[in-house]
C-alpha cells in the first residue's frame, strides 16, 4: 500500500539537517567545480524538476503517465519557434506562452486519457505523447527530424535592466536552482492542501472518494495539467540551456527514464524524485565513462531495481541504518499488539 504523502523513513530532524546542508552545498558548488559539472548539475536539476512534476501524477495521483516528455519537449519547441532570428526572445513572454500551450495540450490529452483506467491509461498517454513526437518528427515544423537551433538564449530584461544572463553557465545554474526551489515549495504546498489530500484519497480508494463526493475526474485532470505545466518549465529551460531542440526530447524513452528516476528516488516522498534524478544522471555519467555499451548496463540496473529495490533508494537507506529510521512497520505492529494484548 502506498504511504501517505510526506511520510518518510528518515526522521524529520535528520531530514531538515540534510535539506539545509544540501541547500548550502548547492549554493557553493558552482564556484568550486569545473564548468562542465556546473552545466551537468543544471541539467540534473532540470531533470529533477521534470521528475518532481511526474511524481505529482504517478506518486500522488496513482496514474502512470508516459507522455510527460512530450510536454517537456513541446515547451522547448514553443521557445524555439517563437525565438526571433536576431536577438533573444523575452523569457517573460515566451515562458508563460510555453506554459499556456502545454496546459492546453495537456488538458485535451488528459481529458481523453483519463476516461480510461490502468493499462489503458498508460497506453493512451504513450500514444498521445508519440503523436506529438511524430508531429515534430514527420512534418516540417521546427526542422523535422533534424531538430532546430535556438541561436540566442532568451533574455530576462525588465525595463532595460538585465536580471540574469542565461548564456552564463553560473547564472543559468542559479536560475535552475531557483526554479527547482520554487517547484519544491509549490508542490509541498499543493500536496499538503485539501486538493493534495483529495488526490491521494482518490488514488487509495477511488470508489470511496467518489462516494464522498470528490470530483475524482476533475482532481486528476487538474493534477495532470499542473504536472504538465511544471514539466513545461523544465523543458523550456532545458531548450534554453542547450540552444537546440529535437523530436527525441518528446520521445517516450525520456518519459520512461524519468519514471525510473521517480521510482529510484521513491514515490512516497516529495524530494524522492529529485534524489532519483540526480542519482540516475550521475550513474549514467559513470557508466558512460566505463562502458561502450553502457545502455546494456543501465537496462540491467533498471531490471535489478524493479526486483531488489521496489521502494527505491529510500529502502536502501532504511536497510543501511535501521536504527535511524523510525521503522514504522515494526513499531506499528508492536503498538497494535499492545493494544490488543
Amino acid at each position: 500500500m502506498a504511504k501517505l504523502p510526506g511520510a518518510t523513513h528518515v526522521s524529520s530532524r535528520f531530514y531538515r539537517i540534510a535539506l539545509v546542508a544540501s541547500l548550502l552545498v548547492s549554493l557553493v558548488l558552482p564556484f568550486v567545480v569545473p564548468v562542465y559539472y556546473v552545466q551537468f548539475l543544471s541539467k540534473a536539476m532540470l531533470m529533477g524538476i521534470l521528475a518532481l512534476a511526474l511524481n505529482l501524477v504517478v506518486g500522488y495521483g496513482g496514474l502512470v503517465s508516459l507522455c510527460h516528455a512530450a510536454f517537456f519537449g513541446l515547451a522547448g519547441y514553443v521557445l524555439a519557434l517563437t525565438s526571433p532570428a536576431s536577438g533573444g526572445a523575452s523569457i517573460f513572454i515566451t515562458l508563460p506562452l510555453a506554459m499556456i500551450v502545454v496546459a492546453a495540450v495537456a488538458a485535451v490529452i488528459g481529458a481523453l486519457s483519463l476516461r480510461t483506467r490502468g493499462i489503458y491509461f498508460i497506453m493512451a498517454t504513450l500514444a498521445f505523447g508519440e503523436m506529438l513526437f511524430y508531429l515534430f518528427h514527420d512534418t516540417k515544423i521546427g526542422g523535422g527530424s533534424d531538430g532546430i537551433y535556438i541561436y540566442y538564449e532568451p533574455e530576462a530584461v525588465i525595463a532595460g535592466f538585465r536580471l540574469v544572463d542565461l548564456g552564463n553557465k553560473t547564472h543559468f545554474y542559479f536560475v535552475s536552482l531557483g526554479a527547482l526551489f520554487l517547484t519544491l515549495l509549490f508542490l509541498k504546498g499543493l500536496v499538503g492542501s485539501p486538493f493534495g489530500h483529495a488526490l491521494a484519497a482518490a488514488r487509495d480508494n477511488e470508489r470511496r472518494a467518489l462516494s464522498l463526493g470528490f470530483p475524482v475526474f476533475g482532481l486528476r485532470l487538474a493534477a495532470f495539467v499542473i504536472s504538465a505545466v511544471i514539466a513545461a518549465v523544465a523543458g523550456y529551460l532545458s531548450a534554453a540551456q542547450f540552444g537546440f531542440v529535437a523530436p527525441q526530447m518528446l520521445g517516450w524513452h525520456l518519459s520512461a527514464t524519468v519514471l525510473v528516476m521517480v521510482v529510484l528516488g521513491g514515490l512516497s516522498s516529495l524530494v524522492g524524485p529529485l534524489v532519483g534524478a540526480i542519482a540516475l544522471m550521475g550513474l549514467e555519467e559513470v557508466l558512460k565513462s566505463l562502458f561502450d555499451n553502457w545502455k546494456l548496463v543501465k537496462g540491467l540496473i533498471i531490471i535489478a531495481l524493479v526486483f531488489l529495490l521496489p521502494g527505491g533508494l529510500q529502502q536502501l537507506g532504511a536497510l543501511v541504518m535501521p536504527e535511524r529510521g523510525e521503522a514504522p512497520d515494526t513499531t506499528g505492529e508492536a503498538v497494535e499488539e499492545k493494544a490488543h494484548g
Binding site: V58, V64, L66, L112, S113, R115, T116, R117, G118, I119, Y120, I122, M123, A124, L126, A127, F128, E130, M131, Y134, L135, D138, T139, G251, W252, H253, A256, T257, L259, V260, V263, L267, N293, K295, L296, K298, G299, L300, I301, I302, I303, L305, V306, F307, P310
Partner: protein, 290 residues
C-alpha cells in the same frame, strides 16, 4: 484515383493491417491473460527483423529465417517469463513498465553488439520474387500477396485456437475474469508462460515477415509498439477479434490517409483513437463499465 490504384492501396492497407494484427494480438493476449504490460513488444518485432536478416544472409533461405527466427523468439519468451515476468504478475503497472523498459535497453544494446546499427534489406524467397501486372503501369509484388495470405492463415489459426480449443477456452475465460477462472481450478502457471512466449513469437514473426518489404533498422520497434498500443486501445484488451478490427482500421486509415491527406496522415490514427476513447473508453470489444 482509378479502380486499379484504389485496389493497390486497398491491398497495401489490408496487408499493413494484417501484420499489425499479428503483432498487436500478441500484445493484447499478454495483457489479457497475464495482466502484464509489455513495452518491449516492439523491441521483439525489431529483433525478429534483424534475426530474419541474419538468418537469411547466413543460410540463404528465407524459410529457415522465418521458422528459426520465430522459434528463437519463442524460446527467449519462455526464458524471460520463467526468470522475470512470472514475478511481475499482480505487481503494479509501474513496476511492469520499468521492467519492460529495462528489457528494451538490454535488447537494443544486444542488437547493437550482435548485428550493429546498420540498415539492412532482406531479399524475399526466390519463388516469391516478381510482380503481377495489374494494368500497363501498375503491378503488385507477389511477396506482398503471399504475405497477406500467410497472415490470414496465421490469423485463422489464432482464431481457431482461441474459439475452438480447450486452451482457447481457458484463454478467453482468463481474459474475461482471471480470479474466477482460477477459482474454477485452472492453473495459470504454464498457460502464462506459453501465452507470453507466443506473444513474443508473434511480434518477432511480424518483424520477420515485413523484413523483405521494408527496411530493417534499429528504431523500427518503437513505431510498431505505439501502433500496437493504439490497436489494443481501439479493440479492447484481451480481445483477438477487437485486435483484428483495430488493426484493419489502422492499416486502412494510415494507407488512405497518406494518399488523401499526406500532410496530416501521421496524426490521423491518433484522431481515430481519440474518437474511439470518447465513444467507448474500453475499446470497441473491450469490457465496458469498469
Amino acid at each position: 484515383m482509378n479502380a486499379a490504384t484504389f485496389a493497390v492501396q486497398l491491398l497495401n492497407g489490408v496487408q499493413y493491417g494484417l501484420v499489425l494484427f499479428l503483432v498487436a494480438s500478441g500484445l493484447s493476449l499478454v495483457f489479457g491473460i497475464l495482466g502484464v504490460i509489455n513495452l518491449a513488444h516492439g523491441a521483439f518485432y525489431m529483433l525478429g527483423a534483424y534475426l530474419a536478416y541474419w538468418l537469411s544472409a547466413y543460410t540463404g533461405n528465407f524459410l529457415v529465417a522465418l521458422i528459426g527466427g520465430t522459434a528463437i523468439a519463442f524460446v527467449i519468451g519462455l526464458v524471460l517469463e520463467e526468470v522475470f515476468v512470472k514475478r511481475m504478475i499482480g505487481r503494479d503497472h509501474l513496476a511492469q513498465v520499468l521492467l519492460s523498459f529495462g528489457f528494451i535497453l538490454v535488447i537494443d544494446e544486444s542488437r547493437q553488439i550482435l548485428f550493429g546499427k546498420d540498415v539492412h534489406s532482406v531479399p524475399p524467397p526466390d519463388w516469391l520474387k516478381g510482380s503481377i501486372q495489374l494494368t500497363e503501369l501498375l503491378s503488385y509484388p507477389i511477396y506482398r500477396l503471399a504475405l497477406c495470405v500467410f497472415c490470414l492463415i496465421v490469423a485463422a489459426i489464432i482464431f481457431f485456437v482461441i474459439q475452438k480449443t480447450r486452451l482457447g477456452m481457458i484463454i478467453r475465460a482468463g481474459a474475461e475474469n482471471r480470479d474466477m477462472t482460477r477459482a474454477l481450478g485452472i492453473s495459470f502457471d504454464r498457460l502464462n508462460r506459453y501465452v507470453f512466449a507466443g506473444g513474443i513469437a508473434l511480434a518477432a514473426l511480424g518483424g520477420i515477415l515485413v523484413a523483405p518489404v521494408s527496411t530493417v533498422f534499429p528504431g523500427m520497434g518503437d513505431g510498431m509498439l505505439i501502433l500496437s498500443f493504439v490497436v489494443v486501445v481501439l479493440g479492447g484488451i484481451g480481445s483477438v477479434a477487437g485486435a483484428a478490427i483495430g488493426a484493419l482500421l489502422i492499416g486502412l486509415t494510415d494507407t488512405f490517409g497518406k494518399v488523401f491527406f499526406p500532410q496530416v496522415s501521421s496524426i490521423l490514427i491518433y484522431v481515430l483513437m481519440a474518437g474511439i476513447l470518447l465513444w467507448r473508453p474500453n475499446g470497441l470489444l473491450g469490457k465496458q463499465g469498469h
